[in-house]
């Protein structure tokens, strides 16, 4: 009788310990998943902040920007980058994609024509190939040097610089 009671007590305690153990495991898993989500969110916030700043930084980069103008893109340089695919790598550009659209003066044909091509209006400067991308854009001057009537000057059009933020790709 005494031995049965003791066994029952030990069993009860063992069950209690297992229950407490599983409870803490569950709490731990919940906390880790919450923490993982928070880290992912803060990573994406930082990436977003970086992309927003990149709009300005990109126009200052010697690979893209004009020499002396603020928020200006050298059309010849982006033409060269569009031709010379693969400049830099996924790490060199802190963003997922760089696209430049000519938006004014508007083209008769409103379709997007990929440069290099005659009368093109769209430059795909860099594309990491990532599908899950959020784009941010700003208006910029799109300039190139020309020589007409014995004068050399910068001919500028209005362009839109669009950069994509890398979002975490879901495993397929």
């Amino acid at each position: 009788m005494v031995s049965n009671k003791a066994q029952f007590r030990i069993q009860q305690m063992a069950f209690m310990i297992v229950a407490v153990f599983f409870f803490f495991i569950l709490v731990g898993v919940a906390y880790i998943s919450y923490q993982y989500k928070t880290i992912q969110q803060s990573y994406q916030e930082l990436q977003k902040e970086e992309a927003m700043r990149s709009l300005q930084i990109l126009t200052n980069m010697p690979e893209i920007g004009c020499s002396q103008e603020y928020m200006c893109i050298d059309e010849d340089k982006i033409y060269a980058l569009a031709v010379k695919k693969g400049y830099g790598n996924a790490y060199f550009w802190p963003i997922a994609s760089i696209r430049v659209y000519k938006i004014y003066p508007a083209f008769e044909n409103q379709n997007i024509i990929d440069c290099p091509a005659p009368n093109c209006n769209y430059y795909n400067v860099y594309d990491s190939g990532q599908k899950n991308v959020q784009e941010y854009a700003t208006y910029v001057s799109l300039c190139k040097k020309v020589r007409e009537g014995g004068y050399t000057f910068e001919r500028c059009e209005i362009g839109k610089l669009s950069v994509g933020v890398k979002l975490n790709e879901k495993a397929e």
Partner: protein, 321 residues
């Protein structure tokens, strides 16, 4: 007699239960403490890694752009250690790496650094390890002869520039760099500062080998028994940076310069096609390969090539840059 036996048996049961409870309780307590310690370490690692990433983002506005330079300061509530390293890559842009460590409150020692954050398109010149609450940052463009990138200088110590040339004194005064003092004589420097002399004997010595007009436009910097060669704005990098980090970043800058020269060569073709002609295409192509093949220690040797390119570009009506 029977009563006695029963009592003994009951006593034995109690003992076993207590022993069992103590064992299991001790085990749970051990795992709880071990888990808490490990968890604390993970949180610490995460925080430190996040700080490193934030520093990488915070340095974004420090790109000089069209201005002569930019100044900034990163402040922390407590002391922090930043570790910097640089990985060159002869076939790629290379990278800078940052990691941080915070003090451990319990032991008064430093935690191990968190995860390293890689930066591929910035050039951070600093010591291998910088420690403090305030981190002073300023940036300058590196032009050779066209703009290649913005260099970021990060320091925590106070510096005293003794008898610096007018150009450098003016730049430092204009940028209002808090931790750099300008002095005519070494005796006017504050006690805790690192003395930087332009010509004399100091903690850091700068020796110019440029022309009479601007003797410090190129030369070398001697620091901790090591000599590093500089040209142009690299003088600041040579003063503030660890020699290994300096040469690694210079190599990265030269590689990027060579890639930009390739873009300029293509741009030249486009300009020629529309009548805004340039004769610099062969020069740009040649300069690209010169930059790619030059070792950072030999940077002074290619200064005349860059100067020649600058002169040619300035003569052109449709400037290529």
């Amino acid at each position: 007699m029977n009563m006695d036996l029963k009592h003994k048996s009951k006593k034995g049961d109690m003992n076993f239960e207590v022993i069992f409870a103590i064992l299991i309780g001790g085990l749970i307590l051990f795992f709880a403490i071990y888990g808490a310690l490990n968890f604390g370490k993970t949180v610490q690692y995460e925080t430190q890694t996040e700080i490193a990433k934030k520093i990488a983002v915070l340095t974004n506005p420090m790109q000089a752009g069209f201005s002569e330079g930019k100044t900034g300061k990163i402040m922390f509530n407590s002391e922090i250690r930043m570790f910097f390293s640089c990985l060159p890559d002869s076939e790629d842009f290379g990278e800078n790496r940052i990691s941080t460590a915070v003090p451990s409150n319990a032991k008064g020692e430093w935690e191990l650094p968190g995860g390293e954050i890689s930066i591929y398109n910035k050039y951070i010149f600093s010591g291998e390890m910088e420690e403090g609450k305030n981190f002073y940052i300023f940036s300058k463009a590196f032009e050779f002869p066209y703009k290649i990138a913005d260099m970021i200088f990060l320091t925590t110590e106070n510096y005293c520039f003794v008898d610096s040339p007018y150009k450098i004194s003016k730049e430092i005064t204009d940028l209002r760099i808090e931790n750099i003092q300008l002095a005519d004589e070494i005796t006017n420097c504050s006690e805790d500062s690192i003395r930087v002399c332009f010509g004399g004997k100091c903690d850091i010595q700068v020796t110019g080998s440029g022309g009479q007009g601007d003797p410090f436009s190129q030369g070398y910097v001697e620091k901790k028994g090591k000599r590093v060669f500089y040209a142009g704005n690299l003088i600041y990098a040579a003063i503030f940076s660890d020699p290994d980090i300096y040469y690694c970043n210079v190599q990265r800058l030269l590689y990027r310069g060579s890639k930009i020269a390739e873009i300029y060569a293509l741009k030249g073709d486009l300009m020629n096609a529309r009548g805004c002609s340039t004769n610099l295409i062969p020069d740009m192509t040649a300069f690209s390969s010169v930059l790619k093949n030059t070792k950072p220690e030999n940077i002074i040797a290619i200064v005349p090539v860059a100067e020649d390119l600058r002169t040619k570009a300035e003569r052109e009506e449709c400037g290529i840059w």
